[in-house]
């Protein structure tokens, strides 16, 4: 299926755009995420929204989709003020949000998913679904999105790419005039991507307004008519796509000034980079050898040196968190080896903790903390076995208490919080400090950190960076996964970049270059 790239020949309309963002502001927990963003989406245009993680793209989408309300500024749809209180209002206004996480019911057919709240009925008094009408209306929508399945096919039989098309069909069925697509190509094969692009172009030609968020800059440049570039909650560039090049986009996304402060980083004792590793496992505290898990990571190898802070950069879906989970024993892998201090690393998380491995997960609420339990209980959790005496494993309360106090001080936990307080009541920064304290208690040899400063205020971030450095200085190896390139550049000795389950770049500290790191995350070329 063909599509006309870049709409260059279409005449510009003079009407007011279908969707207008005007000086939109939004903050979360005191952190300003959008600072007065303004732009519009015109009828029959595809607008691409680009920016790094945390630039504010998702927030803008959620505002339009009715999941959030702006703190200041105005949203307008079709010229009227638009103040949705929930997704239902958005749908009623003709706005369809196709999320990255699909909201389909796998046990129902495509047709049923499309019309779940709106079944065509035989008008005979009883609520009897008109299967024929259902099938034909669904087939029509499927035709429009180019999906070649019977409407009666169960969604659970469809691969991710096709489920996405069903979501778009749902939007069309709801007679949406504006469609928002959030990272639609993350789980798609190349063929499925081409199909999606053809569809999006078609919809544009039929007069829809489309807002397309993606990290795949090549796709964005090919597909979109106009671009809006966000950085740190501000619009730093916009205009017709033909006025932009790939490199210009990257530099706009990345910006020039560093707006955070990082603790000074001394050169580490040894890094795991290929040059300084003379012998096969030359002092590496963690050695990863050709780890493969189909669909997750492919042939991944790297070394982490004692005292080194190694960053792992990459976009969502690159496999970084999955890698960490594999290293910690939470998920299986098909082939390869992992060694800790030269010895093969196997077994349950408990085993690996005993060997000295620690893991601060991405989701502290679900996997890092017992929210209803006290600060003291959470801090002590990993260290409990070490603080108990055999044979019956009686707890050494004095030891535990002193450890808890020590850790509180070490992580600089807010003095206002009492030991017995539930961690649920703490701020994000303090919560993360509790999780960190829990792991530092066991004096790990290797600490894996997944997005350690997500959702945390600037002050707490700095303190966490300091803790990371202190840990490394004491000889531990620290792996930091983060979506903020600047953060990794600020605290790491070396950065690896992952994309599509593989390592696509390695940068040493003197070599750090934000644009090249981002480029490695976007392309599969080796830097």
């Amino acid at each position: 299926m063909d599509f006309t790239p870049n709409n260059a020949e279409r005449p510009k309309t003079n009407q007011e755009p279908v969707v207008v963002f005007e000086r939109i502001e939004k903050s979360f927990f005191g952190v300003k995420v959008l600072q007065g963003v303004s732009f519009g989406v015109g009828v029959g245009r595809i607008v691409g929204l680009v920016g790094e993680n945390g630039a504010g793209k998702s927030t803008l989408m959620n505002l339009l989709g009715g999941n959030l309300q702006p703190d200041a500024g105005e949203l307008r749809v079709n010229g009227h003020r638009y103040t949705p209180r929930n997704p239902k209002d958005a749908r009623a206004a003709g706005i369809a949000f196709v999320h990255q996480e699909l909201n389909l019911f796998s046990n129902l057919s495509i047709a049923e998913n499309l019309f779940l709240t709106d079944f065509p009925l035989l008008g005979i008094g009883v609520p009897w679904i008109d299967r024929r009408a259902l099938r034909s209306r669904a087939a029509e929508l499927l035709r429009q999105v180019g999906l070649d399945h019977s409407p009666d096919t169960l969604v659970e039989r469809l691969p991710a790419g096709e489920r996405q098309l069903v979501e778009i069909a749902k939007a069309l069925g709801a007679e949406a005039r504006v469609i928002l697509l959030d990272e639609p190509t993350t789980s798609l094969s190349s063929r499925e991507c081409e199909r999606l692009f053809a569809l999006v172009t078609q919809l544009r030609d039929r007069g829809m307004a489309l807002l397309y968020i993606s990290h795949a800059l090549g796709d964005v440049l090919r597909l979109c008519d106009d671009l809006v570039v966000l950085r740190d909650g501000e619009r730093v560039g916009s205009g017709a796509t033909k006025d932009f090049t790939h490199d210009r986009l990257v530099s706009m996304m990345v910006g020039r000034q560093l707006n955070q402060i990082y603790p000074e980083r001394r050169a580490p004792i040894q890094t795991g980079s290929s040059e300084s590793m003379a012998s096969p496992d030359g002092g590496a505290v963690l050695q990863v050898d050709r780890i493969s898990q189909p669909g997750i990571v492919r042939d991944l190898s790297f070394k982490l040196g004692a005292g080194e802070v190694l960053g792992i950069s990459g976009l969502m879906g690159a496999g970084r968190s999955e890698l960490a989970r594999i290293l910690f024993g939470l998920d299986p892998f098909a082939s390869g080896e992992v060694r800790l201090s030269g010895e093969l690393l196997t077994g349950s998380p408990r085993e690996r903790i005993r060997r000295g491995l620690a893991f601060l997960t991405e989701d502290r609420r679900q996997e890092g903390l017992c929210m209803e339990a006290s600060i003291a209980d959470n801090l002590a959790l990993v260290g409990l076995p070490a603080n108990s005496r055999t044979p019956a494993r009686f707890l050494d309360f004095t030891g535990i208490q002193s450890a808890v106090t020590r850790m509180r001080e070490a992580v600089k936990l807010s003095a206002k919080a009492t030991d017995g307080q539930a961690v649920r009541t703490l701020s994000g920064g303090n919560q993360q400090k509790v999780v960190l304290g829990k792991w530092l208690l066991m004096e790990p040899k290797v600490l894996l950190l997944d997005e350690p400063t997500r959702g945390i205020d600037v002050g707490a971030k700095f303190e966490i960076y300091q803790l990371i450095h202190q840990l490394a200085d004491r000889g531990a190896g620290v792996l930091v996964i983060s979506s903020e390139i600047e953060e990794l550049m600020g605290i790491c000795d070396r950065i690896l970049v992952m994309r599509g389950g593989e390592i696509t770049g390695e940068f040493r500290r003197d070599d750090f270059d934000r644009e090249r790191i981002l480029a490695a995350a976007l392309h599969s070329s080796k830097a």
Binding site: P349, R354, A373, L381, A392, L395, G420
Partner: protein
């Protein structure tokens, strides 16, 4: 109001109310004889509820405890019963029987725990099913081996546990004390709470979640077996029917006391209060000579109130 309900002493408060409610209307309620009755009657419930508390803390539930009592009772009686018991009359009878009873409880608990932790079957369904199975097994065993519903002629040494109030009391207090120490002072205790709060975070923090879950059910089984010992001794027969009426009392006592059905929260001391409350109610109702069915209805209502209280506490009372 929230503060009162959320307080640890709410249940003691309830006990006072119950006492005040029954005292003027119930003949024989306020007498030393009755207090003794109350005390001995509440001991099996205490032991049972203590075991259940540990399972509830992990966020599970063990509905099979009454069946375990029945099975243990029959097993024990089969070993030491005077006429046809396997070791009847021998001095080894009692210790072996007691060991057998405890082992029965542990094994059933192990089975429950394995299905729930490793086969990931829903706890309520598994324990409901094992109730039917082991209760039926107990009846079948009694019928097959001695061709009777109950087994008599248990050795006097064993019966002393029932006849001498202080022995029963000592056993119950010992069991409760052990549970308290386990929960409050050992690693396993902390792990039980962690699993109840957040199994995923616990696993990542190095807690052997599956093992801990199995352990909770094994403990519940052993405690149920101890309750079986008390009941069998007091009633002087081994029977599959002992304790059948106690199921709702057990859950009611633990939950009213403050242990949450949602996991992560509970204390042995709270359960003691809850058991006291439920025993007061049971005792009073018995003295009032209420019909069986009225008592069943009231027990259902008590469980309902306990569950509602639990939801209220969980959602509205934010405490430390």
């Amino acid at each position: 109001m929230s503060r009162i309900i959320g307080s640890e002493f709410f249940v003691l408060f309830l006990c006072l109310i119950a006492f005040a409610a029954f005292a003027p209307f119930t003949p024989g309620f306020v007498s030393t004889g009755n207090f003794e009755n109350l005390l001995t009657a509440c001991l099996p419930l205490l032991v049972l509820a203590t075991g259940q508390t540990m399972v509830l803390i992990t966020g599970g539930i063990d509905l099979s405890v009454t069946a375990i009592i029945g099975l243990s009772s029959v097993v024990g009686a089969l070993v030491m019963g005077g006429e046809q018991g396997w070791l009847g009359g021998s001095p080894m009878a009692m210790p072996v029987a007691v060991a057998g009873m405890l082992a029965t409880g542990a094994l059933v608990g192990l089975f429950n725990g394995a299905c729930i932790a490793w086969l990931r079957m829903p706890a309520f369904m598994v324990t409901l099913t094992t109730t039917m199975f082991f209760s039926g097994l107990a009846v079948w065993l009694a019928k097959k081996v001695v061709n009777a519903e109950s087994i008599y002629h248990l050795p006097p040494a064993f019966l002393a546990l029932g006849a001498q109030a202080w022995m029963a009391l000592a056993l119950a207090v010992f069991a409760t004390f052990v549970a308290h120490v386990l929960l409050a002072r050992t690693l396993l205790g902390r792990w039980l709470y962690a699993v109840g709060h957040n199994p995923r975070a616990s696993l990542i923090s190095g807690v052997p979640v599956a093992g801990v879950t199995v352990g909770a059910y094994v403990l519940s089984g052993i405690f149920a077996a101890m309750a079986a010992i008390l009941l069998t001794a007091r009633l002087e027969t081994g029977s599959p029917n002992h304790g059948k009426a106690l199921l709702l009392d057990v859950i009611g006592a633990a939950v009213i006391g403050g242990t949450s059905l949602f996991g992560g929260k509970g204390k042995v001391l709270w359960t003691v209060y809850g058991v006291l409350f439920l025993s007061l109610i049971s005792n009073g109702l018995n003295l009032l000579n209420l019909s069986d069915f009225l008592i069943t209805i009231i027990k259902g209502v008590v469980i309902l109130v306990a569950a509602l209280l639990d939801v209220w506490r969980t959602r509205f009372v934010r405490g430390s």
